[in-house]
């Protein structure tokens, strides 16, 4: 039994990685009051940029991830200029960015369809990976999955323990008050939005160069939307976000195995299962309205000008 579970659990961590990156980025942006619905688009742009960089250089995934981050950040910059500097409607800008990302990635990606990359081999942590069971689940992963967990710890620490975290929250809570005591609200929101873009770009590049190192059109497949949903249902709390991402990853892997075992359910239903399960579980968790209201950044989605 354990022997069957190990690959499931190990796969869960990898499957959760793109959601962790994209979710954390969106969480930071939303903490400052910016809701960027363009995550899906930024992930796709990051995915295609990462894939192209990996395909045309010797660096492979190591070249792909930075390229994805930069591309995601540039995409977020478009969003930031429209919605922050010009105070356009954030929801509309975000949706436009997603549609743009789908189109742009398909346009660039048409040259790479069915082209595959070497991917990234698992990286064993010396000593730890030899622990029975746990070692093969936790410490036999690709480097980016570790990086995702390190990013989680970093974001958690910054939000929880530092002045920067407090300022981010303050800006999302009451931009007028933050401005009144002298914080550059727009600049802080720019920073958070660009961070969100870079994280989404990394998430996309991870999908295209490491997770399934093969170009398929529209390969992000709605994970950007799941990341946005995770942020809200996690009540803007990074730890809950991490748990939500693992849940999604877990069900994704389980349904693969279920498909492999020939369980008599339609494949389409199985493929939809991770999305369904994540949404249902998170809605149940977040029925506590008080919790949501207390954590909801009060200025979320509202254009602000000094």
């Amino acid at each position: 039994m354990i022997e069957h579970l190990i690959p499931v659990l190990a796969g869960t961590l990898a499957a959760a990685t793109p959601l962790i990156f994209a979710g954390l980025g969106e969480l930071v942006a939303e903490r400052t009051g910016v809701i960027n619905l363009g995550v899906e688009g930024m992930m796709l742009i990051g995915a295609v940029a990462g894939f192209a960089a990996a395909a045309h250089s010797d660096g492979g995934a190591l070249a792909g991830l930075p390229a994805g981050a930069v591309a995601g950040m540039l995409a977020a910059l478009i969003f930031a200029i429209l919605s922050l500097s010009m105070a356009a409607n954030q929801a509309a800008c975000g949706l436009a960015l997603t549609i743009f990302g789908i189109g742009l990635s398909a346009f660039i990606g048409q040259h790479y369809v069915s082209y595959s990359l070497p991917g990234l081999p698992p990286l064993d942590i010396p000593g730890l990976s030899e622990i029975p069971v746990i070692g093969r689940i936790l410490f036999h992963q690709d480097a980016v999955t570790y990086l995702g967990l390190v990013t989680f710890v970093g974001v958690w620490w910054v939000l929880r323990k530092t002045r920067l975290g407090l300022v981010l929250k303050a800006v999302g809570e009451a931009p007028d008050a933050a401005h009144a005591i002298g914080y550059p609200v727009i600049a802080i929101r720019y920073g958070a939005t660009l961070f969100g873009g870079a994280m989404a770009g990394i998430a996309g590049a991870y999908l295209s160069t490491v997770y399934t190192p093969l170009w398929v059109q529209n390969m992000v497949a709605g994970r950007g939307w799941i990341a946005i949903a995770l942020v809200v249902f996690a009540a803007w709390n990074p730890t809950r976000l991490l748990l939500g991402a693992w849940l999604f990853g877990g069900v994704t892997i389980l349904q693969f195995h279920a498909q492999g075992l020939g369980i008599a359910l339609p494949v389409q239903f199985l493929a939809a299962l991770p999305y369904l399960a994540t949404v249902v579980v998170l809605v149940l968790i977040s029925r506590d309205k008080r919790l949501l209201q207390l954590n909801l950044p009060a200025s979320l989605g509202k254009p602000w000008m000094p």
Binding site: L166, A170, A180, I181, K289, A298
Partner: protein, 525 residues
């Protein structure tokens, strides 16, 4: 409020701490500040007196660096300075306590304070200092409480302590007492006098004459963006200050006696409601009765259940049928429209957004609440009738605007309030609920609105007024009750109470329990 100002401690021939020369600020539609001169010495408490819209707040924002002047100089301790932003003002030693607090609801007291200080991030050390400073100045605070759970008075303490930690040389307070009980006002004055005696200059912005007379050493009076005079408040009378402030005598209301039969019209019994909003206040067993021909006033500081009570009375939130009774009919379960049909009309606190839809014309806004009065027929709008209705309202209630087609948001606060009150009165209510009738309204319009409400009540309508302005309640009401922490005290004829007693109750201490028990009295209400 009759304490004379303490002797001015600083040497008067000293260099002024702050001197403004010819400060001018123009906005597209208005000159907010027109060549303002102002001088404040060390240890001086200086009042800036003026009505809403006189340009006081703009001037303070210029001093605090939140707004840049178009022309004029600022001299700080004898040196000309350009204050580009609030953090620069803070570096110079200028602190400001805002009228609408600049606090973050979901952060703790100490986090809020840390955000405003330019020093290394150490919450534990700061919490200790917050405690120390707040005790020293008689402003007790718990550094770890979340701000949303604080009362308005406590929030103001947070703002003041936040300024004090920066050891300011000049403290600006913008209408600081509008949210305080009379007792809390006295406490605040003690703190301010103590600061002044330590050499801190204070700019005190207010339109309350008696406060300025009891606290301030000197005053600059503003009207329409200009300085209309300077004065030593203790040598003036309220009437002479008022003349400088509004350019004429303070208007006074006439309150005739009601001669008809005083039967109860609007009765509330056992009304309890816990709002969904975690920042809201739960109503606890509210009981009240408003009779024909009277105005019942509900005093208390906003945030003590005022919004929730208004929602429960208007029908925005519904409950058991018997909790609200209108002329003998239980209406507690009915929504706002159905209550309106039975003769209960409302004037909410937020004029734009609740009382009126900002971009819509006055005629359309009339239709929204007065549709039952011939403005809609068989589901179809009757624009002509709405236009006539709005026109009548504008003429009858002296609303200055561009006519029934003017957008609601184009009206000044006072004129929009006159329109909304007029619209509700024209629906011939048997009972009317009005929240903050004169909030942000100039003196002339406020007097008109108060007289309108008095006249309406004397025609036999039962009126309930919820207001933060105690003086207003004493002027127009027949009986006054106090809403504190979601509980309502027994209504008392205004001749049998005074500002001090009401103030005690506003802090949640109801008088007939000798101030020890916090349970409200409502058995006989």
């Amino acid at each position: 409020m009759s304490t004379p100002p303490p002797p001015f401690s600083g040497p008067p021939d000293n260099l002024p701490r702050l001197e403004l020369t010819g400060i001018t600020k123009r906005y597209p539609s208005v000159v907010a500040n027109d060549g303002i001169h102002l001088k404040v010495g060390p240890g001086e408490i200086h009042a800036v007196l003026g009505e809403n819209g006189a340009g006081k707040s703009t001037l303070m924002k210029i001093i605090y660096g939140a707004v840049q002047a178009d022309a004029g100089q600022i001299q700080w301790n004898g040196r000309e300075v350009v204050i580009a932003n609030p953090s620069e003002a803070r570096r110079l030693g200028i602190g400001m306590v805002f009228q609408h607090f600049s606090l973050f609801e979901t952060l703790s007291v100490v986090e809020n304070i840390a955000l405003a200080l330019d020093e290394p991030f150490d919450l534990k050390g700061l919490a200790a200092r917050v405690k120390e400073v707040s005790t020293r100045y008689g402003l007790p605070l718990d550094p770890d409480r979340l701000v949303y759970s604080l009362s308005v008075g406590e929030r103001q303490r947070v703002e003041i302590v936040r300024c004090l930690l920066q050891e300011p040389q000049l403290l600006i307070l913008d209408e600081p007492t509008s949210v305080l009980t009379p007792q809390a006002v006295q406490k605040l004055f003690e703190t301010l006098r103590r600061l002044a005696s330590e050499g801190v200059s204070i700019l005190y912005i207010s339109h309350k004459l008696h406060e300025i007379q009891s606290l301030c050493h000197s005053a600059t009076v503003m009207r329409g963006g200009k300085v209309t005079g300077t004065a030593t408040p203790s040598r003036e009378t309220p009437a002479s200050l008022a003349r400088m402030m509004i350019g004429r005598e303070l208007p006074v209301c006439e309150v005739p006696a009601f001669t008809g039969e005083a039967a109860p019209v609007l009765t509330v019994r056992g009304l309890s409601h816990t709002p969904d909003d975690p920042f809201g206040t739960a109503l606890k067993d509210i009981a009240l009765e408003v009779r024909r021909g009277e105005i019942l006033g509900i005093a208390g500081i906003s945030g003590n259940g005022q919004a929730e009570l208004l929602a429960a009375l208007s029908g925005e939130t519904t409950g058991p049928a018997n909790t609200v009774v209108l002329a003998g009919t239980p209406v507690g379960h009915l929504d706002a429209g159905r209550r309106r049909k039975r003769g209960l009309t409302f004037v909410p606190e937020e004029r734009l957004g609740r009382g009126a839809v900002p971009p819509m014309s006055l005629a359309d806004n009339a239709t929204l609440s007065a549709h039952g009065h011939g403005l809609v027929k068989k589901g179809f709008l009757r624009p002509k009738a709405a236009w006539e209705f709005a026109k009548t309202c504008i003429e009858r209630f002296d609303v200055r605007c561009g006519g029934p087609g003017a957008a609601a948001r184009s009206l000044s606060g006072g004129n929009l309030q006159k329109f909304i009150v007029g619209r509700e009165i024209m629906q011939q209510p048997i009972a009317m609920v009005v929240a903050q009738p004169t909030w942000g309204v100039d003196v002339g319009a406020a007097a008109f609105l108060r007289q309108t409400l008095i006249d309406l009540s004397r025609s036999g309508v039962a009126i309930l007024v919820i207001s933060e302005e105690l003086e207003e309640l004493f002027e127009i009401c027949d009986r006054i009750a106090v809403l504190a922490e979601g509980r309502l005290s027994e209504a008392v004829p205004k001749q049998q109470t005074n500002a001090e007693k009401i103030g005690m109750q506003m802090s949640g201490l109801f008088s007939d329990t000798h101030g020890t028990d916090r349970e409200p009295a409502h058995a006989a209400a």
